[in-house]
Amino acid sequence: MKKVLLFLCIIALLPLGSALAQDMPHAGAEIVATYMQSGTYDIGAENIEAAFEEATGIEIELVASPWAVLNQNHITDLTTGTGEFDVMSGEFWIASVWDKMLPLEDFVERDEYGGDFIPTIWQPGPSGHYDGKRIGIPYSADAYGIVYRTDIFEEAGLSADWETWDDYIATLDALAMHLEGTDISPSVFSWGASEQTPMIFLGMYDGYLVDADGNYALDEAPALDSLNKMAGLLDYNPEGAAGLSIDEANSVFLTGNAATMICWVSFMRAAAQNPDSSLIVDNWAVASFPGPGFPFISAWNLFISEYSEEPEAAWEWVKFYINSEQATQRFVELGVGSPYLSTYEDPELMEAYSHDFPGMVDNLSRAQSVPWVFEAFEIFFRNTSELVIGSISAEEALANTLAGWSEVTVPPALVQSAAAQGQQQDM
């Protein structure tokens, strides 16, 4: 009997011994990592889950949730100190709990990690920072952009080299004349997805988002100008555009019914080059997002909770998931924008994505995040939506926004983020 027990103990301890033999210092650790249920980031994680466990001996549980649920889970977990999640996927929307994230400076320095990111993506803003310390590692980078039909521009003798929104609007005027009598509209945008309208505003607006005292604010004259200009863009869109969702706007462009589209490029990239879903294969390209504002960036970060009992194992997952090889693979397989320069300098990819990379890299190099918590964002996008459908004027939209913002506190992390990105009013 004793021999049987001894044999069973040896069998049970074999994996641990084998892990130690293979230099797995964190073998046996168990961690939980969260992702947005998007069919991209979460799938990318699932694809390498087994390889990670095999390579490190760390057991990882992946939890994928829809965006709103994901943020709720994080905020609840961190404010209550539950510590259910070791690694958390997030952006600045959860900045109110960034003080509960583990500073990653020591890990980064120790492992000489992070030298190959696109510089702007590695900076505070796109990369989560709190109190001057890095707390987040970016694993995706998608900047708002404008895509255009190369064939139509060629026919019309136009070029997509606009620098400002006034240049872009002048191009739309020229396109409107050229396309008169056709079913093709000069532009299309997902006006019905009202949370998207601020992205155009941010591209047009040349002013601060946080005042000198650290409160949400807008420079009124340029804000009004931008709001009016933004609402005016609807005139260049097809009939009924005010109700278009992101998918519906993409569909208008992919079926050849618009000459330009303001959009998340990653949402249409794969479909646009697929003959089954697109009539414009090889006839489109990404242009620079006009200024004087900035292209809004979606840069998802991985954070490690300060309540994690396995921070080293969590860091192992961060390194395994976020590196240039994985980012390039996710770009190719899942269309996820890479935060690494090497992806955009890969000779094969440069050739395959010659219509896409120049504009994308230019937009990423100028992209910024915003210092808005969700409440501030919602106040703004609901009012800009009211403006777009004609329920209120630009003056009312601005006044309503500022009144709503006066009740919302800017988390310290986002004041710092605004200051780092030049979005805070001068003292």
Partner: protein, 297 residues
Amino acid sequence: MGVYRMTWHRRHDAPWLVAFVLPAFLIVVAVQFYPLAYSAVLSVQEWSLTESQTPKGFVGLDNFVEELGDETFRRSVRNSVWITGGAVFLEMILGVCLAYLTMGSSWRMRAVRTLLILPMVIAPVAAGTLWRILLNYRAGLLNHLLGLIGIQGPQWLASPDWALVSVILLDTWQWTPFVLLVAGAAIASIPGDLLEVAAIDGASRWKTFLYIELPLLMPLLLLTLVFRMLESLLSLDSIYSLTFGGPGFSTYTLTFYIYTQGLRNFNFGAAAASSWIFMAFASFAIALVFWFQRRDW
């Protein structure tokens, strides 16, 4: 002797009765009254979870005053009244009409009734997505059908007024079958001899309905009205997937407002106060229906 035995038994059984009832009573208290009491406490506290892990302190009725003065809140109340009022009115009328039209036990009628109740078994969030596609201005089925008869369909989800109509349409489509089911069962339970007597007395079909059937149906219809009002007021998922409260604040309902305050902005104090106002609002509406029910029909 008999009375004595009964009293003795009651006295003897009392501890057992208490022992059996107490767990259920405690569960009800725990799951129903504790959250209510806790939300009442929260409603007079200043607490935003994103600013503090614990309530910042007692603020009296400030949360209530702020909410009642908030334009978005007031608009949410107006939208809720329009949506619930419009949808429930249509559901009651259509449900009763359909119940009469599909009376009978032939296989055809049973098949029709089965088909008619299908919308009710679809998850509201899926129904919202389905209607979002149907109501698409450019490629939706509804505007296509309207186009076939020469009518230019509206921008259902992009216009503030039509977006409200869209939400009412969705609610009506999904929940008319509930009224149909209840009204159908109520109609079937009306004694046939009453209707025969009316027919012998020469009452027209309309008068039979108005003076005999409707009064008999009324208690159940009013109860159905209460159920539908509550369900419609509490509806969140269909609006979430159909309009997400938009465009702008056009279809922001009370429930959507409370959800946003509580679960997206984490303003627990404000969300709790809004919930209590909502409860008062809903209770008033239901009390009105019950008052109506007490009338002699």
